[in-house]
């Protein structure tokens, strides 16, 4: 068998795409609007925004619909779209302590400063599959009492309920955590959208990579460290775990002062680590930090755990390489998907090598290597 250049397949490719479009866009069912997807598939939309690295729920929802619910493909579409957009500004540094909490729990402590606010969650209740037939579509929204009167009776939210003091601060007050102090330098954050992060990298690159990582990859890496051979990660205790809104501010171009341009929802987690290393202060804890777009507690918790694991890792640990190079969904998914493209020539050359080796095994003469660059026949 020899090699020969070929072309073709364009008609088949176009027909295949038409099949997707026809089946997806003209399915015999009601159209799923952008608004429907944003409101009914909130967690998928949030996950797409985080993994794409672009916060805009209608864009993520459109990608979700186009990708037929494939979150990784949707993130890919949004990230490609993002690459076409100019950068208008960089925000002033967001202070997570300004978060207005929509959910806030502290698993490490029953009585932290501020409330244990469960918010919108089914974490504490059994879940059984609800089939469409069990659900009366025309059922009115359940009301326990008249909403208006309940709202009117509700006291104003206190500052402590809006912005509870973080548990990390309480540990600091008790002198139970390693004191990091103000950084001696304040380097500009590494921008993974402009330059690929490679070990050794600053912490800002690691945090950015984790914030944009594929959720499953980050959780898988964390769990591998719990049950796998690495031993990089100890099981942390969670401190503050929050979902809420943070304000974004940019510098006003005319006045030079910060101006708020809106708010975004983020999820934040503190991972408290028990220090037990020979060189570590065993009378104190240290805390890992996780923060990501939208409501995605799995990701924020895994990130907090891996942050402290990365900071404590030995010099020869593979963890940084794993975090920087293997958790991006577009990288890993893209590489995997490329395997479906034709590999006719490379595989043919492997077949040729097998056959040549077999032939050489049968001959008794001296082995003559093929000259490099010999033309294919």
């Amino acid at each position: 068998m020899g090699y020969s250049g070929v072309r073709g397949g364009m008609e088949a490719i176009l027909a295949a795409e038409r099949l997707v479009r026809r089946s997806r866009d003209h399915a015999p069912a009601e159209w799923a609007s952008t608004e429907q997807i944003v409101l009914r598939f909130r967690l998928a939309v949030d996950r797409i925004m985080g993994e794409a690295g672009l916060y805009h729920s209608p864009t993520a929802a459109d990608a979700f619909r186009q990708a037929e619910g494939d979150v990784l493909e949707a993130a890919h579409l949004v990230r490609a779209h993002r690459s076409t957009l100019p950068r208008l500004a960089v925000t002033e540094p967001v202070d997570p302590d300004e978060m207005v909490v929509l959910r806030r729990i502290v698993p490490a402590n029953r009585t932290p400063d501020g409330p244990q606010l469960l918010g919108r969650t089914t974490d504490y209740t059994g879940r059984l599959l609800e089939r469409e037939g069990d659900f009366a579509r025309d059922r009115a929204e359940p009301r326990t009492e008249d909403d208006d009167s309940a709202r009117n009776r509700q006291p104003e939210r206190t500052p402590e309920q809006r912005h509870p003091r973080r548990f990390y601060q309480l540990l600091r007050d008790l002198d139970l955590v390693v004191e990091h102090g103000e950084p001696a330098e304040d380097p500009e954050p590494f921008d993974i959208t402009r330059r690929a992060a490679r070990p050794p990298a600053p912490r800002s690159a690691v945090l950015s990579s984790m914030a944009r990582a594929e959720t499953g990859a980050l959780v898988g890496l964390w769990y591998r460290s719990i049950l796998g051979p690495d031993g990089d990660v100890h099981e942390i205790t969670l401190g503050d775990t929050r979902h809420g809104r943070v304000p974004l501010r940019v510098v006003h171009p005319h006045t030079g002062k910060p101006v708020q341009i809106g708010e975004i929802r983020v999820t934040e987690a503190e991972g408290i680590e028990d220090l037990d290393g020979a060189e570590e202060d065993r009378t104190r804890f240290d805390v890992g930090y996780g923060l990501c777009f939208g409501h995605n507690e799995r990701k924020a918790i895994a990130m907090a755990n891996l942050d402290i694991a990365w900071r404590r890792a030995e010099e020869d640990s593979p963890l940084e390489q794993l975090l920087l190079l293997t958790t991006d969904g577009l990288d890993s998914g893209g590489f995997l998907e490329h395997l479906k493209l034709p590999h006719y020539v490379t595989f043919r050359s492997m077949v040729d090598r097998k056959l040549a080796r077999r032939e050489a095994r049968g001959s008794t003469g001296p082995r003559v290597p093929e000259p490099f660059g010999e033309e294919c026949r």
């Binding site: 957009l85 540094p93 954050p189 800002s204 005319h254 101006v259 341009i261 975004i264």
Partner: protein
Amino acid sequence: MNREQRAALLAVAEPDELIELADACLATGSAPTVLVAPEVGCVSVQVREPVVRDRFLLGDVLACRAEVELDGSRGWSMRLGDDRAAALAAAILDAAVEAGRAGDEVDELCARVRERQRAAEHAEWAELAPTIVEFEEL
């Protein structure tokens, strides 16, 4: 209300109310010069995390900005999302106030927006407050 507070409220006003007021404002005076046409792009979110106090980039948000000049005064706006008309209208209103036009109407609009924010937060809290855990000592 200072200029930054006004810009923040205009940034979250509804597009229709911004456009309506900007149209009314332009109907009675000179036309604006567009210095920066409404442009959709990214704003990179920088965070200072609270443990080691390192700064890092969380990701980008979609935003739209515009800049105009009206009667010799410049107006600017930036808002989240991709509504170009709303961004342009907000920039026109900013310039109008700077030029001494429509100050009262813009203040009224900002007051309405602030009141809506308060009402929305109050309604949100009415739903969230019952989810506060009340422990019972055994």
